[in-house]
C-alpha cells in the first residue's frame, strides 16, 4: 500500500493557549512495497508524523492518502477500522501494550478486533510466535513473566498477527541487546522482501537506515528537510554536517579514507559495501582471507 502526505501540518491542542505546532507542511510519498526510514532528533516530530498514518492523530491541515483511504482534518473516528486493520503499529517499548492472561490470547487480540474468528486468530498467534523466534511452549504462559526482550517479541507478534500491509516501527529495537537487535531488523526485512510489506521505520540507528531503507526522510523541528535515498543523503557530507545528522559507521570510515586521498565510485554505507569496495580496489586484500 502506498502512502502520500500532502502539505500535512499538525498542532497539539490547537485553539488553546497551549497550542504547540509539531508538524508543518510535510509532503512525501512512500510507494507500495517501499521501505522508508525516518530520522531526526528527539522532538523533531517523527512520532507525531507516524501517528498520522493510521489517524491516531488527524492532520490540522493538509491531506494523507493510504492506498484509496484519505485522511483529512474532517475525517471522523467512525470509519477508521478498515484503515487501521492494514496499518500495523509497533510503538516505542511496545511491551507496555501487553495485558492478556496468556501470550497466545494477547497475540490473538488484534486480529479478533478486526473480525478474525477465534480459532483462526489463535492459529495465527502460534504461527507468529514462531515468526518472532519463540516456540509454542510460550503460548499458555503469562506475558508478565517474560524477560524484557521476550515481551518485546510477543508485542511485535501481536501486531504482525493482524497481517497488516503497512508496518510502522517506532524505534523497535531500543533497549535490546545487539543480537536481538539484528534478529528483529532481519525479521522486518524478511517480511518486507517476502510478503511485500510497506515499512516505515523511525530510528536513530544509521546502520539500519543504510542497510535496509530505500529512502530516508530527515525531520527537523517539525519540518521535512529532505526525503531521498540513503546514498544521496549521506553522500552530501557538507549537508550532513550542517543539518547535524549522524552517519553510518562504515560511511564515516570511508570518509576518513577519502580525506586521505581514496576515491570512491559510490560512498559505501554498510560494512559489506565497504569491504567489497576495498577488495575491488586492492584485490590482494581479499586473498588473505581465503
Amino acid at each position: 500500500m502506498a502512502i502520500t502526505f500532502e502539505h500535512v501540518g499538525y498542532t497539539y491542542q490547537a485553539g488553546t493557549p497551549m497550542a504547540t505546532p509539531a508538524l508543518s507542511d510535510v509532503s512525501f510519498t512512500v510507494p507500495d512495497h517501499g521501505y522508508l526510514a525516518i530520522i531526526g532528533h528527539t522532538g523533531s516530530g517523527k512520532s507525531t508524523l507516524i501517528q498520522q498514518i493510521n489517524a491516531l492523530l488527524k492532520p490540522t491541515t493538509g491531506k494523507i492518502s493510504v492506498d484509496d483511504f484519505t485522511i483529512t482534518p474532517q475525517t471522523t473516528n467512525a470509519d477508521l477500522k478498515p484503515l487501521r486493520r492494514h496499518v500495523g503499529m509497533v510503538f516505542q517499548f511496545p511491551e507496555s501494550q501487553l495485558f492478556e492472561e496468556t501470550i497466545q490470547r494477547d497475540i490473538a487480540f488484534g486480529p479478533q478486533n478486526f473480525g478474525v474468528s477465534e480459532d483462526e486468530a489463535n492459529q495465527r498467534a502460534l504461527n507468529m510466535l514462531e515468526t518472532v523466534g519463540l516456540d509454542e511452549s510460550f503460548a499458555d504462559r503469562s506475558p508478565f513473566e517474560l524477560s524484557g526482550g521476550q515481551m518485546r517479541r510477543v508485542a511485535i507478534a501481536g501486531v504482525l498477527a493482524m497481517q497488516p500491509k503497512i508496518l510502522v516501527l517506532d524505534e523497535p529495537t531500543a533497549g535490546l541487546d545487539p543480537q536481538g537487535r539484528l534478529e528483529m531488523m532481519t525479521l522486518f526485512n524478511r517480511l518486507h522482501q517476502e510478503q511485500g510489506l510497506t515499512i516505515i521505520l523511525v530510528t536513530h540507528q544509521m546502520e539500519d537506515v543504510a542497510a535496509y531503507a530505500d529512502e530516508v526522510a530527515v525531520m527537523q523541528a517539525g519540518k521535512l528537510l529532505t526525503c531521498a535515498t540513503p546514498q544521496e543523503v549521506f553522500n552530501d557530507s557538507d549537508w550532513v554536517q550542517s543539518s547535524d545528522i549522524a552517519v553510518p559507521r562504515a560511511a564515516k570510515f570511508a570518509q576518513r579514507l577519502s580525506d586521505r586521498g581514496v576515491k570512491w565510485d559510490q560512498l559505501p554505507l554498510t560494512a559489506d559495501q565497504l569491504a567489497d569496495q576495498l577488495v575491488q580496489r586492492w584485490p590482494g586484500m581479499g586473498a588473505h582471507h581465503e
Binding site: F91, S96, F109, G110, N113
Partner: protein
C-alpha cells in the same frame, strides 16, 4: 482528555498566581461556606461580582472557565431539573402533572442551585488554574502542621501527596500511549454499548497498573538509594511567605463577606 480543564495549571503572572497557596486554599474553603450563606438576590450579585473580579485579576480568559464547566454540565443540569420539578409547593403553580410541579418556589430554588454550582466551580477552577499542584501540596501540608500534635504523620502525607500530583501527568501520558497502541490493534474506546465500553478499558487498565506499580517500585528504590527516610524532620525547598498582597486579599474578602451578610435575608 485534552479538554479537561479542572485540575490543570496555567502558568501566567498575575496577582492571583502570586498569592500564597495557603491563603488561596483557605480563601476557597471560606468562600465555599459563604456561597451557602447567601440567600438574597443582592447577596448573590455581590458574590458574582467578587468571583468575576477574581477571575479578571488572574488574567486567565473567561473562555477557559466556561470550558471547565463542560464536564460538570450534566451534573448541573440534572440537579437543576430535579429542583425544578420536585420542589415543594410554594407560590404560583405554573405546571402540574401527577407528581411533577413547576412552582415559583421551584424556579427560585433551581436558579439558586445553578448559581451556587457556577460560583463554586468557577472559584475552584481558578484555584487549580492559578496554583501549581506542588504549591497546593506544600500549602496543604503547611496548613496541616498543627495535626502533628495528634501524631498524624503530616510530612509523610505531604510527600505522598506531592508524589501523587507529580505522577498525574506522567500517568496521563502513559495512558495516552497505551490507548494509541490498543487503538492501532483495533480497540474502539468509548464506542458501542455499556458492556463493550467497559470491556474496552481492560486493555488500558491492566498495562497502566503494571506500569504504575513498576514506577512506584523504581521510585522508592531510587529514593532509598539517596537516603530518604520518613519520620525524619525534613526541611523544605519551597518556603511559603505571607505577603502584603495576601493580607490585602483577605481584607477585600472580609469586606465582601460583610457586604454579603448585610444584604442577606435574616
Amino acid at each position: 482528555m485534552s479538554n479537561f480543564i479542572f485540575g490543570r495549571y496555567l502558568p501566567l503572572n498575575s496577582i492571583v498566581h502570586r498569592l500564597d497557596p495557603r491563603s488561596k486554599l483557605l480563601l476557597s474553603f471560606c468562600y465555599l461556606i459563604v456561597v451557602f450563606l447567601a440567600n438574597s438576590w443582592l447577596s448573590y450579585a455581590i458574590l458574582i461580582g467578587f468571583t468575576l473580579a477574581a477571575i479578571l485579576s488572574s488574567k486567565i480568559s473567561l473562555g477557559f472557565f466556561l470550558k471547565g464547566l463542560r464536564p460538570m454540565l450534566w451534573l448541573i443540569a440534572f440537579t437543576v431539573v430535579v429542583q425544578l420539578l420536585f420542589s415543594p409547593a410554594g407560590g404560583h403553580v405554573y405546571f402540574h402533572w401527577t407528581i411533577l410541579n413547576i412552582t415559583q418556589a421551584g424556579l427560585v430554588n433551581s436558579g439558586v442551585i445553578f448559581i451556587r454550582f457556577l460560583l463554586i466551580i468557577m472559584m475552584s477552577t481558578l484555584l487549580t488554574l492559578s496554583t501549581q499542584p506542588l504549591d497546593i501540596a506544600t500549602g496543604l501540608s503547611s496548613l496541616m502542621k498543627p495535626l502533628r500534635w495528634v501524631r498524624i504523620p503530616v510530612d509523610t502525607l505531604a510527600m505522598m501527596l506531592a508524589i501523587a500530583l507529580r505522577f498525574v501527568p506522567t500517568l496521563m501520558d502513559e495512558a495516552t500511549k497505551i490507548m494509541n497502541a490498543q487503538r492501532a490493534r483495533g480497540v474502539d474506546f468509548g464506542e458501542g454499548g455499556l458492556i463493550k465500553q467497559a470491556k474496552s478499558f481492560i486493555p488500558l487498565m491492566v498495562p497502566l497498573f503494571m506500569s504504575a506499580f513498576n514506577r512506584a517500585e523504581d521510585l522508592s528504590t531510587a529514593m532509598e538509594a539517596r537516603g530518604y527516610r520518613d519520620s525524619e524532620h525534613r526541611s523544605q525547598y519551597r518556603i511559603l511567605t505571607w505577603q502584603r498582597r495576601d493580607t490585602m486579599t483577605w481584607i477585600v474578602f472580609l469586606m465582601v463577606l460583610a457586604a454579603m451578610l448585610a444584604t442577606r435575608r435574616w
